[in-house]
């Protein structure tokens, strides 16, 4: 639709103002991270003598290497697990008819509406009883079921062309082969969008790792940053370096899949 000219101008001004308010704090963080100690508190948008010393100090003062390892490892395992488990459930809902299917589907969707805060206490106790406290298990296993993945993938599988499936089954492929050899490879954009959503969720997670991790050997980046903030409140150079390191993976994953995701997201992804 074509807006009228004055509307267009108002729109550009509004959106430009919002974009600037988003970019400005980011620019400050970015420049502070590369400023030497004596420049940090002096204002000034660009560093006069750019340096990596903040990054060096970050890795010296904290167990950031461990945090990166824990965040990467748990996120990777979680994302793979969530995708596989989500694909399986979505296939069952999309391609089979069985008793209680609709009730079960409603229960899966209902879980989306139950925020973590409502269930954290018993899960926390469960983790302690299982001896999973302060291990990767506690970070991975309770988060493996993903209702949004089931919902999204089911939608896409239902609109999958039947000819392809019939052809595969004519060739003697069972459900398992059809699913992994025919359907999943053709769900590219949906899988990409989902991967980003799940990845960002897991990488940026704060509350749950805060509860169940204690030592540097299981702490994730986000919790490591919190600890650093509390121990070394005033070393803002290193803190800014830390938040840049913590943000790079999510932004990288996004840029990698970006085009497809925006399209899926906008055209089909979240339609109810």
């Amino acid at each position: 639709m074509q807006l009228s000219r004055p509307m267009m101008i108002v729109g550009h001004i509004l959106v430009l103002a919002i974009c600037l308010s988003i970019l400005f704090p980011m620019a400050i963080v970015l420049s502070t991270a590369f400023k030497p100690m004596n420049e940090i508190y002096a204002g000034g948008l660009l560093p006069q003598a750019p340096t990596f010393e903040n990054f060096a100090r970050l890795f010296e003062k904290t167990a950031f290497g461990w945090y990166i390892w824990n965040s990467s490892g748990t996120t990777l395992l979680r994302v793979i697990g969530q995708l596989i488990i989500g694909v399986l459930a979505a296939y069952a809902f999309a391609r089979f008819r069985f008793p209680y299917r609709d009730v079960l589907f409603a229960l899966v969707l209902g879980a989306m509406m139950i925020p973590q805060v409502l269930t954290m206490l018993p899960i926390y106790i469960m983790m302690a009883q299982l001896g999973w406290f302060d291990t990767w298990w506690a970070l991975i296993v309770p988060n493996l079921a993903t209702p949004i993945a089931v919902f999204l993938l089911r939608q896409h599988m239902m609109s999958f062309p039947n000819e392809l499936i019939d052809a595969a089954q004519m060739d003697g492929a069972g459900h398992w082969t059809t699913l992994w050899r025919v359907i999943v490879p053709n769900l590219g954009p949906a899988m990409a969008a989902l991967t980003i959503i799940i990845f960002i969720d897991s990488w940026n997670e704060y509350f749950w790792p805060l509860l169940v991790t204690e030592s540097a050997h299981s702490r994730t980046i986000q919790i490591g940053l919190r600890e650093f903030l509390q121990e070394d409140m005033n070393d803002y150079g290193a803190l800014m370096a830390g938040i840049i390191v913590a943000s790079i993976p999510a932004i990288a994953v996004f840029l990698f899949f970006q085009r497809r995701v925006m399209d899926t997201f906008v055209s089909s992804g979240l339609k109810g």
């Binding site: 919002i18 988003i22 229960l107 805060v117 239902m158 938040i243 932004i251």
Partner: protein, 319 residues
């Protein structure tokens, strides 16, 4: 929903494939079991980590326990509810929760609408705007919280330097009970605005642009088109955004509260989620935490119900 139609064809297509290979009864049994095998991981995980804990929270809200496995949990009935509801912490947290939600409706639910409509009308050229708007969704709330702690730092923060250059004194926003909550509301808006814009864009994408051209031909202006066509067609998306924003506002602000204010100054920024966290994991009062959780659950149900009633009446236009 029209989604059920392709489903039947699919199942019909799957039947002959099984029937051809003979041994109908064995085949049938395997086919009946198959969906359950595919579903098993999700169903088990949700049962163990979502629905069972929900029931268990209800039970824990009736006992007195301090998370110590050696200690036995004493049944105290509804005592915890009265105790929590009567505390000043709960009253502050409840009031603040209403403020957080009240402020999030215009800022996070309504403000994204004109932005989305504008981007939609700009089309492909708006790609650059969209990418920038999406950036805050990618970075974590910890990152955002720490960045703003630095910018708003009253002694050597960036905002203070800029204010000083303009000859103004920069107030310590986070130490003032009147302003601290608005800092957190502002930051959480900064973080989720772009995501909600994208969801509205998804809703707008399904609107038939020919309808707009037709209205244009009849001489309708932008405002009329928005009021008579876009707004009604967008209502289902609005319902979705409103409900998810209310639920996630509870969760999202936990991180900035924990990092920037720890609920203070004088409980002015705490919310029900943070209160539950404090009961459960700071003072290890499991019964109090669980009772707070159940009250929050009830509150969220009521909110969702109200939103459905208010918004659903306007959602009859859905294609």
């Amino acid at each position: 929903m029209s989604l059920h139609q392709p489903q039947k064809q699919v199942v019909a297509g799957a039947v002959p494939a099984g029937a051809v290979s003979g041994q109908p009864s064995a085949r049938r049994q395997r086919r009946d079991l198959a969906p359950w095998l595919y579903l098993a991981p999700t169903v088990l995980l949700l049962a163990v980590f979502t629905y069972w804990p929900l029931l268990q929270t209800a039970y824990l809200s009736l006992v007195d326990w301090n998370l110590n496995p050696g200690q036995s949990a004493d049944f105290v009935g509804l005592n915890n509810y009265g105790r929590v509801a009567g505390s000043t912490l709960f009253q502050a947290a409840f009031l603040n929760t209403l403020i957080y939600i009240g402020a999030s409706i215009p800022l996070k639910v309504l403000l994204p609408i004109p932005v989305a409509v504008f981007l939609w009308s700009v089309g492909q050229k708006g790609h650059f705007y969209r990418a920038i708007l999406f950036l805050p969704t990618l970075i974590s709330f910890v990152v955002v919280g720490i960045a703003f702690l630095w910018i708003l730092n009253p002694i050597f923060g960036y905002a203070k330097v800029i204010f000083a250059e303009l000859g103004l004194r920069f107030p310590n926003l986070l130490a003032d009970p009147d302003t601290a909550i608005w800092v957190i509301i502002g930051i959480s808006t900064w973080k989720v605005l772009g995501f909600n814009v994208l969801i509205y864009l998804a809703g707008l994408a399904s609107i038939n642009k020919e309808l707009i051209e037709a209205m244009r031909m009849d001489g309708a202006g932008d405002i009329t088109i928005f009021r008579r066509l876009i707004w009604p067609l967008l209502t289902p998306t609005l319902t979705f955004v409103a409900i998810s924003t209310v639920i996630f506002t509870m969760q999202q602000v936990f991180t900035p509260i924990d990092l920037m204010t720890e609920g203070g100054p004088s409980n002015s920024t705490t919310n029900l989620f943070y209160m539950i966290y404090q009961y459960s994991f700071v003072t290890f009062d499991v019964g109090g935490g669980a009772a707070g959780t159940m009250m929050l659950f009830g509150f969220l149900m009521i909110m969702a119900f109200v939103q459905f009633r208010v918004l659903d009446r306007r959602a009859h236009y859905q294609q």
